[in-house]
């Protein structure tokens, strides 16, 4: 009796085990073309190819109580690669699924190698997108997954409910993020981030940088070039430790702003806030006129020119020492 139960249990577990299947495809690409991928369930990995061929490796995973049904579904998944003018379209074709039973689940992971000179565009719904080393432009939109760019040139991310990570990028970086967080590290040239409800953390960016947030926080650590930080209702914390930062504009509404400066950094500062306060341990000129408070001052020669403007916002300008929240 017991052995029969064990056999039944094993059979049950075996029948519910996921079915996995691999398939692949390739198509020749030339510089100037665009690879466009539309995907829905599963992760996408894109990296640089060593030749002129777009190669796609696909892993299909299907899970169902009925293993035969899972295997049948997996066997009918197809990869489609088609060139049309300057665009190569890549997509995954699924069999028609009528009345999927509870417990039925499928995902398809894609690994693409993209030739040099070919632009990559992808949209995904339920899965992450990771792009590494592509230098001819990439644009990724994602609904419910994270997006990661590493060592890429000219990238744009449009993300609704996932996070965005960018490391070591160059060229134009555009991020439009709604409910997720944005993390930028060591990215150069021109950066434009628009976020709404998540936080933005930027470290060691160099170039023309604009970060705008609505309800999340902005944290900027280090940085060179010209920066503009805009917050509607979140906090801004900027740690300025590089004299190669030339200009910092801060605009805040119903926000709290901390501008933290190491002792050796020269800078000039000018700011005003309506219906807010300005706090600083430095002996700068402070002036109050009704609800409006102003501050002007400088230290040393050179360094960044800092300009802040706020409404119903408090500002603190001071040394970085003892800031445990960093």
């Amino acid at each position: 009796m017991r052995s029969a139960l064990v056999v039944c249990l094993i059979a049950l577990v075996a029948s519910a085990a996921p079915v996995s299947r691999g398939l692949s495809g390739a198509i020749a690409c030339r510089a100037g073309q665009t690879v466009r991928l539309v995907h829905r369930y599963g992760n996408i990995f894109a990296r640089r190819a060593l030749d002129d061929t777009l190669a796609v490796d696909v892993t299909v995973r299907v899970e169902a109580a009925d293993r035969k049904r899972a295997a049948a579904f997996a066997s009918e998944v197809e990869l489609s690669l088609a060139a049309w003018a300057d665009t190569v379209f890549a997509s995954v074709l699924y069999p028609e699924l009528v009345d999927p039973a509870p417990g039925f689940s499928y995902e398809v992971d894609l690994v693409l190698t993209i030739p040099d000179g070919v632009r990559f565009e992808a949209s995904n719904a339920f899965g992450d997108v990771e792009v590494t080393g592509l230098t001819s432009g990439s644009a990724v939109s994602s609904r419910y997954g994270d997006v990661r760019f590493s060592a890429c040139h000219d990238v744009h991310a449009e993300v609704s409910h996932g996070d965005v990570h960018v490391v070591g990028g160059s060229g134009l970086l555009g991020v439009n993020c709604s409910y997720g967080n944005v993390y930028l590290d060591e990215t150069t040239d021109r950066v434009a981030v628009e976020n709404r409800y998540g936080n933005v953390r930027a470290a060691k960016l160099d170039g023309d940088v604009t970060i705008s947030n609505v309800m999340g926080h902005i944290s900027a650590d280090g940085g060179r070039g010209r920066w503009c930080l805009v917050s509607r209702y979140g906090e801004i914390a900027a740690y300025l430790d590089d004299s190669m930062l030339t200009k910092l504009d801060v605009i805040a509404e119903l926000a709290r702003v901390r501008l933290l400066l190491p002792d050796l950094l020269p800078f000039r500062i000018e700011g005003r806030t309506n219906a807010g306060e300005i706090g600083t341990p430095y002996r700068f000129k402070k002036h109050a006129d009704g609800d409006q408070h102003r501050l002007t001052g400088s230290r040393g020669r050179g360094g960044p020119a800092i300009v802040f403007t706020g409404a119903w916002s408090d500002f603190y300008v001071g040394p970085d020492e003892g800031d445990t929240s960093r």
Binding site: F126, H161, R196, G216, G234, N274
Partner: protein, 147 residues
């Protein structure tokens, strides 16, 4: 749907809520405003009143179904910011909360459709639960006046 499945779903929502990432804009605003109120009782009271008014307006918008004009939400330039009236700023705050909830509602609808074609996909289920949890949490905060 029987009671057990409702309880199971609520448990999943509770678990999803505790494991969610830092995605809590309403407390960010309200907690700060509350801090301000305790620190500086004279001026920020109007800001607290703003948040309350925004919450009340938003609840009316959500439950009565009124279609308030869509605000173009953009960062104001410095001069525009300094000259902005409290009424306009309060209206924009309300619009932001309404947009937040509208986005969450859209996510709930979108993930329900996805669940119909891929019912046990863990990503879809998690996205659905997170969206429902975000909606419940936000409405709770609005009802509680920010607490």
């Amino acid at each position: 749907m029987d009671c057990r499945s409702v309880v199971a779903e609520l448990d999943e929502i509770r678990q999803a809520t505790t494991s969610m990432k830092a995605l809590e804009p309403p407390p960010v605003v309200w907690y700060r405003v509350r801090d301000e109120v305790s620190r500086r009782p004279s001026r920020p009271r109007f800001a607290w009143a703003w948040a309350g008014a925004a919450a009340a307006a938003l609840l009316v918008a959500v439950y009565v179904g009124s279609r308030l004009p869509a605000f173009q939400v953009r960062a104001a330039g410095p001069e525009a910011l300094l000259s902005r009236s409290r009424t306009a700023a309060s209206a924009e705050l309300t619009a932001h909360y309404r947009e937040y909830l509208a986005g969450v509602d859209a996510a709930i609808a979108e993930t329900e459709l996805a669940l119909a074609e891929n019912p046990s996909n863990p990503r879809v289920r998690m996205a659905h639960l997170e969206a429902r949890a975000a909606r419940a949490r936000t409405l709770n905060q609005l009802y509680a006046g920010g607490d």
